[in-house]
Point group: C2
Chain length 132, copies 2
Amino acid sequence: MYKENNLSKNQQIIFDLINKSSEPLKAYTILFSVQKKGIKAPPQVYRALDKLVETGKIHKIESKNAFVACRNSDCEISKATAFSICESCETVDEISDMKLSKYLSDFNHKKGMKFKRFNLEFFGICKKCKKD
Amino acid sequence: MYKENNLSKNQQIIFDLINKSSEPLKAYTILFSVQKKGIKAPPQVYRALDKLVETGKIHKIESKNAFVACRNSDCEISKATAFSICESCETVDEISDMKLSKYLSDFNHKKGMKFKRFNLEFFGICKKCKKD
DNA sequence: TTAATAATGTTATATTATTACATAGTGTTA
DNA sequence: TAACACTATGTAATAATATAACATTATTAA
């Protein structure tokens, strides 16, 4: 069952749910939503989430403990992620900006550590909320 | 008691502990460490942490659910934070780089949202771990 | 077809964080 | 100094997030 699209049954169910969602989903929200599909326990959800994060199909928004589908074909296996988060409506958007991505991927700091990966979260008030 | 340095008793105890530490501390690690000083329950710790984060004395490392003292006089009230995290030894360093900070503070993306704040976490293997 | 690997199912438990409510300390100002 | 608003504290209970451990089944590759 794995080969066709390289997602397993549980992974596919959970990916589909996250992918359809317009907002980040939390692990237990996912759990409650997929119980009718036979996924009954936290480890089943967390295992699928771990795998999906690992393969870059989804990202974890660390400041929210929530997950979004990857919308950015450029972020290979989640090496370089950036998000904009509205502090009012909680909307999260993945930022896809080549210049930003390149700037950060090339960044090296004084202590000489070579970075393999980064995650950037911007916070503010989105256009829509500003109007209200 | 507040006025002298504008940290309350619990805030000062918890800040001192984090500030002395060479590594990020987790809330319950802090709780266990300060029980002899009369701080006995999670809300006492979380309240102090919230306040310290709010005032920029400490930062939360979101990917680790842990807290470090601010080493950077430039990051006013935690508006612009960047960290380097070693995936091997788990060492966390606050990055203080004016150019990076300015680049990100000035960043605006297409959708027109104005950012007030950001948090950036870089991951890699530090110099010391590379040698081993 | 066997062995290795990946995925699943299940129970229990660990870790992280908040709610709710009662009490006490501090700063302001009338 | 009395009254007030505000901040901080103490405490019990519980909510939310995440993992450990172990048994079983499915998939792939040799």
